[in-house]
Assembly symmetry: C2
């Protein structure tokens, strides 16, 4: 997008310049990413005021730090709608930004927008991107702005769409959620509990298990890393099976879930984090898909971007639940400043954080 | 069921005896079944006329020989609704039988019934089984009786339900069918063509490929055994991907299909014949299920027994197509007499036959 701006820099408006910092992928991660795969590049952003048609100049306030970025770093990432990150080019992430200059009448200076942007402090972004939206609900709902990257953002919408649209969860069903202490799992578990379901979650540390049970009132939770045989673990927590599996993990957790899900069960395929760091040949193949037939299962994957049009309904419902204190949420600020993004992202894949991980892009005051 | 009859044999009705032959599983197959896993047992069937309430005495005319029987021979068969065959007990299969005696007013002597029965020449069967039905359409449709085990029976219903109910196939979609020359695939391909779809099938011999293209007018067909890389093969036949995969095979065919199916594609999970003979640890795990998410795929398995109530609609539609000559069908009579069942079944898994495989239980005249 910067290129587009520079190419059109002469002939109209006032030319301005800002020093910006952005995170660039300098080599493709092999397996677990390391900080050396990325570099912070400082460069001068040259732009016009007003910006070229269809663009906004924004100051990025908050960046979302997500495991799925790892998948987009693979050349063959399996995401037909998201092209892989390119070497030498910036990494993109979900963000909350403030509009500094706009040529689109839908957005005015000072507006707060939620979108996908480069991992940078300043950027020229498209005002016509399918998932750009003004945040106008903040005052009414009275939540911190960064929640629009979490419980009121993509992860929240993902949980809400998964349960309400993809699987149409019913009262009294039994639900298993993997990566339950993650940004999506935390809300999925709470929404399922509010529907009157029995909910069991898996997570990767004892602290996460404690939080799931004590803070988020999951019926049960377990640490999959200390269980010897996930198949037996699931039999223990669901002696007669479960109806719905909210799948965030893949690999052998999916195999164990297929063994234990009930006939006519539904699988919401939302993420397979256990496989993102693995080369194709190293991946844990799933060997019991015959259960899909034998148990008449339905497995459906989705990309939350396809449900962006439902965002208002979602924010109304979940915003009210937040205001009423019926749901709560962990927000984990992993760093301050663009320089800290890489470390935050690599650390995130280590699996320690609970709830939504974000980065404050400025090192000044929290917006 | 014989046991039930023998226990009630005194006190009412007329006691009669018939010598029957039935196929018993004497050991569980490990990998590929061999004839020594089975034995033909001759024994006296003692019964009353009329039979005990809820039972029919039948003479079995035709038996269906199906690959899925192999799966039911595994102790842990993954079919929650079908208990595994037991050692020392008869094997069951789809059958067409003639009622010799009935205690149920819904069935009269001389009626022809379609159901699941022991692999035997005579049997006492339940008249209350969920999938027992009189065949009353034969005269109107003018097809041989054994077609009720094929194009008008379970395999036909499976193809019809898969396309019409599970995936709601639309005109102009592109469809890939594996095991296309099998009992289900043959009808699925023809129904998809009649809907105006482009259809490509895979099969395991050059002769099957020829028949698919020349007799059944598949747009393309290929022999998966002589292809080096199924992923590239599918790219060749579907340069821009396909919308629907009718899955009968599993394993690396499913992997290749996941690579090539389009965004929002649908997978009808109907069978995974490549995996039936394999121990859990030997199975080809599917390593690219991440596409289910990245491409927003829907994969749905089903057991045709759950759609038995749609049988009248199905027979009306497909029967008419048969009468009008718009579809045709291969029927492969693998043997005559109960003694030949085992050889026919073991041979079937060798993968040579085209269309529906059946056995004529009597060595007399074709019914």
């Amino acid at each position: 997008m910067e290129e587009a701006s520079e190419a059109q820099v002469c002939g109209r408006g006032v030319e301005e310049r800002i020093w910006k910092k952005e995170v660039v992928m300098v080599s493709r991660p092999q397996g677990m990413p390391v900080e050396a795969n990325f570099e912070v590049r400082r460069s001068e952003l040259v732009f016009q005021v007003p910006p070229p048609p269809g663009f906004l100049l924004v100051k990025v306030l908050w960046l979302s730090v997500d495991p799925y970025l790892r998948e987009i770093m693979n050349e063959d990432n399996g995401l037909t709608v998201i092209p892989p990150f390119q070497i030498g080019q910036p990494v993109f992430a979900g963000s909350i930004s403030k509009v500094l200059a706009s040529s689109d009448p839908k957005f005015k200076e000072g507006n707060i927008v939620q979108t996908i942007s480069p991992v940078a402090d300043y950027a020229l972004i498209s005002s016509e991107f399918f998932s750009i939206d003004k945040i106008e609900h903040t005052h009414a709902i009275n939540v911190p702005l960064n929640q629009y990257l979490g419980v009121l953002g993509f992860p929240g919408l993902t949980a809400w769409v998964g349960l309400n649209v993809i699987t149409q969860l019913q009262a009294n069903e039994e639900v298993f959620i993997s990566a339950a202490a993650g940004a999506v799992g935390l809300l999925a578990g709470q929404l399922a509990k509010l529907k009157g379901c029995r909910v069991v979650g898996s997570a990767g540390t004892d602290e996460k298990v404690r939080v799931l049970k004590e803070v988020y009132h999951f019926d049960e939770a377990f640490n999959y890393k200390t269980e010897k045989d996930l198949n037996l673990t699931l039999k223990r927590y669901f002696p007669s099976g479960f109806d719905v599996y909210f799948e965030n993990v893949g690999g052998n957790t999916l195999e164990a879930a297929l063994e234990n899900i009930r006939r006519k069960g539904r699988i919401i395929a939302c993420g397979m984090i256990s496989q993102y760091n693995k080369e194709y040949k190293e991946r844990e193949g799933v060997r019991n898909l015959m259960h899909v037939i034998g148990k008449s299962l339905k497995m459906e994957g989705f990309m939350v971007g396809d449900y962006w049009h439902m965002r208002d309904d979602f924010i109304k419902e979940v915003g009210e639940l937040l205001q009423q204190g019926k749901i709560s949420y962990h927000m984990d600020i992993l760093g301050r400043g663009i320089d800290e993004f890489t470390k935050a992202f690599v650390g995130l894949l280590g699996g320690k954080n609970i709830g939504k991980a974000v980065l404050l892009t400025d090192d000044g005051e929290t917006p």
